[in-house]
């Protein structure tokens, strides 16, 4: 069979194919997004979709499992918070067809708001969790999870981390198993969680726990390898790899199923060594079980290894006092390279206006969170998906009680609005809030790499889909009278709308519309240029934070033609008309007409 270098996420997708999965659902989120993007390679045999959020995605996978189909649902770690409600119910209900839940945790917060350890969810929901250490194991664990799920009638959680999801290693391919033919058979006592049924199901869950603990002791991926000395290392996930680098002579207990914990296997291993190091990312899950299982053993874990951040062989070595990580060169002395909104980003004009009007945005999760960074600096809260709107209302109501108001708006993207912004907006309308919600509709889920969503007109499988119009949804659906639409590149119109709506003593919504500039990368627009003779070095254009604009040696603005998308926003903010489109005929100093640009420039 062929061997290929796959990322952990690609390997999960391959595993789903080989394991006979026929239903897959997810909401995109780094580092999990590529799982579903790769599953559609097999779309002739697997139905795959983006759910509007992780909760709907999980429930849809559970519904698929009711028919005996093998189902997989994938999300980033914080997505499981959203899907926690169906997770706990699914544990009681069990799995008719396999139900595989992939949680991609993000130790080190490469692109997340926290670094929670989702193995806690497996323990709380009383379901098994598997932790692959490389791509081959990621694929293998999907196959194992299907077996465990169907044998023990339980959902199975697979905990990936950023490093296992986004590193590549060789994977051997296998044949696809023939999946069962789906068929819906009613099972009232199993699937209707009326208290009377759920009480009986809880008994089964506890019995299942015992069986799974015994299974974990004999699970072939929980392995002991003998060492040359009396030091033992117990490790899970990618930490196992770091352990092998640091302790070449030690004995290893590699735990691929940390819960239910393989107590007997651990005791067997512990008896062969004098001292045990436990390596795991984030929280001391294995360590806690290990200390309970062998209270008299010398166990070294989170007392020296960090709870925070990613592990690595360097982190292990430095925790042991075996490596000095003091750098030879101090990187603090050179400029950082923070991510920024793209040149031509249709969010820039909004944040520029917010910044000028000194309005602080309640932020949300998406590219537009970058509006918090200098020079825009127009967002001082960002909590979780959808929280821009609800935090806004909470602040407004609490201040109102003391007869106070502040200038604030919520800023939320289209995909995040569909995910969990709609409910918050209903709260505002229902509770007679007076705040303004700005919805940045760029027609795509941009930050995670351009996934389709209910407003984009396409499905994950590439089919045409009804396009849900946010303006209609809010104005006609929720009946919000003050719903306005504005072009993301129209600086003046945004400015005036913001001014007016922030003062309004009624709730309002401003939908700022313009597709993500990266969707149009192949279209050749004429870039902007600076007329040096008119540039007064006032630096207003630099306040846009556009990566294409910089100051030259004489402090005049200059525009990088290769980066410039020709959005024209900088030309609108320049009071001296020093910026204009440039084409083969040279500079058009006869200013900008955005309308003519739009009718001619957009593909």
């Amino acid at each position: 069979m062929a061997k290929e270098l796959l990322s952990g996420n690609e390997a999960i997708a391959r595993g789903a194919y080989e394991a006979g999965v026929t239903f897959a659902s997810a909401y995109p989120g780094t580092p999990s997004t590529e799982i579903l993007e790769n599953i559609i390679k097999y779309k002739d045999v697997i139905y795959a979709q983006w759910g509007v959020n992780e909760k709907t995605a999980m429930e849809e996978a559970l519904g698929a499992s009711f028919t005996g189909a093998r189902a997989l649902v994938a999300m980033k770690h914080v997505g499981l918070n959203v899907a926690a409600d169906p997770l706990f119910s699914a544990s009681y209900i069990g799995a008719t067809g396999a139900l595989i839940i992939i949680s991609a945790d993000d130790p080190g917060l490469h692109s997340s708001q926290n670094e929670q350890d989702n193995r806690h969810y497996a323990i709380a929901a009383k379901i098994p969790v598997l932790e692959p250490a490389d791509s081959q194991e990621a694929k293998d664990m999907v196959l194992e999870a299907v077996k465990i799920s169907e044998t023990y009638d339980t959902p199975v959680l697979i905990r990936m981390t950023t490093r296992t999801s986004h590193s590549r290693s060789a994977v051997e391919f296998g044949e696809r198993q023939v999946p069962p033919t789906p068929e819906y058979k009613s099972d009232f006592f199993k699937r209707n969680l009326l208290p009377g049924n759920a009480r009986r199901l809880h008994v089964l869950v506890e019995a299942r726990q015992k069986k799974l603990a015994a299974f974990s002791d004999g699970f072939k991926y929980n392995t002991i390898s003998k060492g040359k000395n009396r030091i033992g290392v117990v490790a899970s996930g990618v930490s196992y790899q770091y352990g092998r680098e640091v302790f070449p002579d030690a004995g290893f207990l590699k735990i691929t199923m940390p819960y239910p914990f393989p107590v007997n296997l651990f005791r067997e291993f512990a008896a062969t060594v004098d001292k045990i190091y436990i390596l795991e990312e984030n929280d001391p899950i294995i360590e806690t079980f290990a200390r309970l299982a062998a209270p008299d053993k010398e166990i070294i874990g989170k007392d020296i290894f960090p709870l925070l951040g990613e592990m690595s062989q360097d982190v292990v070595l430095s925790s042991l006092g075996m490596k000095d990580l003091t750098p030879r060169f101090d990187c603090g002395t050179i400029p950082k390279r923070p991510p920024s909104l793209c040149a031509g980003c249709p969010h820039t004009a909004l944040f520029y206006n917010l910044s000028l009007q000194k309005v602080n945005a309640r932020g949300d999760i998406g590219c537009y969170t970058l509006g918090a960074l200098p020079p825009l600096s127009a967002m001082d809260t960002c909590v979780d998906m959808g929280a821009s709107i609800t935090i806004l209302l909470g602040i407004e109501k609490a201040l109102a009680k003391a007869n106070k108001t502040i200038k604030q708006v919520a800023v939320i993207g289209d995909s995040t609005f569909f995910h969990s912004g709609i409910t918050g907006l209903i709260d505002i309308i229902y509770n007679k809030g007076q705040s303004t919600v700005v919805i940045l509709d760029n027609s795509i889920t941009a930050m995670t790499g351009h996934q389709e969503n209910p407003g984009s007109g396409k499905t994950l499988m590439g089919d045409d889909a009804p396009r849900i119009d946010i303006v209609k949804l809010v104005r006609d659906g929720l009946g919000l009278e003050h719903t306005y639409e504005v072009d993301g590149y129209n600086v003046k119109a945004i400015k005036e709308l913001l001014k007016r709506e922030i003062l309004r003593q009624e709730p309002s919504v401003i939908v700022v519309r313009r597709p993500c500039v990266l969707l149009y990368r192949k279209v050749k627009w004429s870039p902007m240029g600076v007329d040096i003779s008119k540039c007064t070095s006032c630096k207003v254009c630099l306040r846009l934070g556009c990566p294409a604009i910089s100051a030259d040696a004489d402090n005049k603005s200059q525009i990088n033609k290769a980066l410039c998308s020709g959005c024209g926003v900088c030309a609108q903010v320049c009071a001296f008309k020093a910026i204009a489109f440039v084409d083969e005929k040279g500079m058009h100093s006869n200013a900008i007409t955005l309308e003519s640009y739009m009718s001619g420039g957009q593909s």
Partner: protein
């Protein structure tokens, strides 16, 4: 053999992940065990990007340790300096002689360091600067700079040249193969 490490760094959009994929495929074809790691997410928005490749008989960690990287291939000068701590004492620093201002510099808040090359030379056993971006523009496509840099790396590694050409032939879309083979040769034959 001892596991070897290569770190590729630069700015999002420079073709770093494509380059590290190509490198990994060559090493796999050469019979090594290979592990590669990469950074996704926010880094696509003009942030710094790192990808690491480790290869040998049996490779465990996909990440190199500090002062343990054999080659650093930097697509941008400031990024070379940012990652210099990963380079081993005998390591080779291969750098695209190209400056890309980060936003704080473009916005006039900070200055782009002027003394990068001497600092690199002080800290690395060997530094090779190649004007890969300029050479790529001369070949007709700025995007080919990543393969020029891969060509330079290939000239310093003991891997059969044909394997590189085979992987380029297999991985690159047909209409870009010619350009990429030229780019590879440009880097491979480059003499500072």
């Amino acid at each position: 053999m001892k596991t070897k490490s290569i770190l590729i760094c630069g700015v999002g959009g420079q073709g770093i992940l494509t380059a590290s994929d190509l490198l990994s495929d060559v090493l796999l074809l050469a019979g090594f065990q290979v592990k590669k790691s990469e950074v996704h997410g926010m880094s696509q928005r003009g942030g710094d990007v790192i990808s690491t490749v480790r290869y040998g008989e049996e490779v465990f960690s996909p990440l190199p340790g500090l002062r343990e990287t054999d080659y650093i291939l930097a697509f941008e000068k400031l990024e070379a300096l940012r990652n210099i701590n990963y380079l081993s004492e005998k390591g080779i620093m291969l750098v695209n002689d190209f400056e890309w201002q980060p936003l704080p510099v473009a916005a006039g808040l900070e200055k782009y360091p002027q003394n990068i090359e001497p600092q690199l030379r002080k800290l690395a056993a060997e530094v090779v600067l190649i004007p890969a971006t300029r050479l790529a523009i001369e070949l007709g496509n700025e995007k080919a700079s990543n393969v020029i840099l891969i060509g330079l790396l290939a000239s310093r590694m003991e891997i059969d040249r044909q394997l590189w050409l085979d992987v380029i032939g297999k991985k690159v879309p047909p209409r870009f193969i010619d350009l990429n083979l030229k780019a590879f040769a440009t880097g491979f034959n480059f003499r500072p």
